[in-house]
């Protein structure tokens, strides 16, 4: 049995005999009795998301998940294929479990995949990822004056984001994967 301090993104919790992977958590202490951790967890079978709050005094049934460094290879139908960098084995992860973060994946990206009984159940991607800009309309004179301080650019994995108007095609940029926004020039 584990405690609330072991709750992390990507761990799998057995809650009322069902398995859930933690997608979001926050330790809070607002003075409502002892501190607690609020979790958002996705059911491993149905993908349904629930919110559960555990008090720090509670024990939590965290099941053993192996975290492996992997590299993203390609999208295969609804699923995503990764390569285990230790064994060079290839695995496929369910698109529902990858969720919205799939849009940030690009070939060769290093990620951490959580495996429960050899099944990939969670994915951690870097907080900032570097991409090459493949399309960026040139800035037009007067843009700033008219309030157009950003423009849409396309990145090498097909993702489009808003970026400052000074960004040009061929440049390397960092994207914040928590917000999906331009972060800085790389």
């Amino acid at each position: 049995m584990a405690s609330t301090s072991d709750v992390r993104k990507g761990v799998v919790i057995k809650h009322q005999n069902e398995l859930y992977v933690v997608v979001e958590f926050q330790h809070i202490n607002p003075g409502k009795g002892s501190a607690f951790v609020r979790t958002r967890m996705k059911h491993l079978g149905t993908g349904k998301v629930i919110e559960i709050t555990y008090k720090t005094s509670e024990t939590i049934d965290i099941v053993n998940v192996q975290f492996q460094n992997m590299q993203y290879l390609y999208k295969s139908g609804d699923n995503y294929a990764f390569m285990d960098m230790n064994s060079y084995e290839q695995i496929e992860m369910d698109g529902d479990l990858v969720g919205d973060e799939g849009k940030y994946l690009k070939e060769g990206l290093g990620v951490v995949v959580g495996l429960y009984e050899e099944r990939p159940v969670s994915l951690q991607i870097p907080k900032k990822i570097q991409y090459t800009v493949v399309e960026a309309p040139p800035a037009v004179k007067g843009d700033s004056a008219s309030g157009n301080v950003t423009k849409e650019i396309k990145l090498d994995n097909g993702l489009t984001i808003q970026a400052p108007i000074f960004i040009k095609e061929g440049e390397e940029v960092l994207v914040n994967t928590e917000t999906g926004e331009y972060s800085a020039r790389a």
């Binding site: 926050q26 809070i28 202490n29 409502k32 709050t53 509670e58």
Partner: protein, 344 residues
């Protein structure tokens, strides 16, 4: 993220910050226009509040001979503002920084945060509810927003806000009469019956909130903001008891989209009862193994000198900005939050 470079390059974040500054100005205008006195009280205090589960940040001040004095960064300006009520001020507010340790850096928390507190003496907690609703509507109108946003929810600001007692909410969501669960034993059984675990060290407050946080809180303020009022008296050290039922006390919280935004009291102004309640909280802090300090003697003395029946509230300004701007988390509404400073 909200450091200078983020603000420079990201118009959404810049807009959030500008809206924050505008909201701060509007809050002041709202209270000034009603002849509230704007106060300024110490951030570092010798005797912070006794809330059993809050963790004030300790700081040591040195005099020129390097003698050390232990102070604490306030978790709220409550004691100081009530002392000012004792001077005869009838309507008072303060916007300032407060600190609570052992909180997440992000999400809905930052160790250093901005709070507004206001008090009316004479005043009731129902009047404070009206103030809160009017404040939000005033700010919303001035910045052209009639909806609040939290996560993927939109909460209507223009209509009348909901008001429900804690007892009504337990009836609605747990289907029990809270009157029967005001003691620790029946509450412990209820927690177990609902499928949660119980630790022998759990205090009544822990048990109450195991249920409240899991089964009730997320439902609060989904369509319109809600005032949740009249808590079990044992959870309200600083409130006076309800006139019609002394098992409950005059306290309310405001929830918007499941997010707690404010905590308010019909203020306890009886100095003897206040001393007793704070002493009990201090003893609970000792039992919980937390740092303790004396009950602020000048606060008790101020109450003894006499304060008119008062109502007051503490409202998180960062969260208010978050709701008005639809920011993703608290780090986006605070310039150089703790997380930002640690990362950059």
């Amino acid at each position: 993220m909200s450091n200078w470079k983020d603000l420079k390059d990201n118009p959404r974040l810049k807009n959030i910050y500008e809206t924050r500054l505008q909201i701060l100005r509007l809050i002041r205008e709202f209270f000034w226009s009603q002849n509230f006195v704007e106060a300024e009280t110490p951030v570092a205090v010798r005797f912070p509040g006794q809330e059993p589960y809050l963790n004030p940040v300790a700081v040591d001040f040195l005099d020129p001979l390097k003698t050390s004095y232990r102070l604490y960064l306030r978790t709220s300006p409550e004691f100081a503002l009530k002392k000012l009520l004792a001077t005869g001020i009838e309507k008072i507010f303060e916007i300032g920084k407060c600190f609570r340790n052992e909180e997440s850096f992000g999400g809905t928390h930052n160790t250093e945060f901005t709070m507004i507190e206001w008090y009316r003496a004479p005043g009731t907690y129902k009047e404070i509810m009206d103030d809160t609703e009017n404040l939000f509507k005033y700010v919303g109108e001035k910045i052209g927003k009639n909806k609040l946003k939290y996560r993927d929810q939109e909460i209507d600001l223009s209509g009348q806000w909901e008001r429900s007692s804690v007892k009504e909410l337990w009836q609605k969501y747990i289907c029990v009469n809270l009157d029967d669960y005001l003691e620790i034993q029946p509450m412990r059984k209820l927690v177990l019956d609902l499928g949660f675990t119980v630790d022998e060290k759990d205090e009544y407050e822990d048990l109450f909130y195991k249920i409240f946080l899991n089964k009730i809180e997320n439902n609060l303020g989904k369509d319109v903001p809600i005032f949740v009022y009249d808590y079990p008296a044992s959870l309200c050290s600083l409130s006076r008891k309800c006139e019609n039922d002394e098992r409950y006390a005059q306290r309310f919280e405001v929830y918007v989209g499941g997010l707690e935004l404010a905590n308010a009291f019909g203020e306890l102004t009886d100095f003897k009862l206040q001393q007793e309640n704070l002493q009990k909280d201090k003893e609970l802090r000792e039992r919980l193994g937390r740092p303790t300090w004396a009950v602020d003697p000048s606060f008790i003395a101020a109450l003894e000198s006499g304060i008119k029946p008062a109502g007051g509230i503490a409202l998180g300004v960062d969260r208010m900005v978050l709701l008005f701007t639809g920011a993703r988390d608290i780090n986006e509404v605070i310039f150089q939050s703790v997380a930002d400073q640690l990362e950059n």
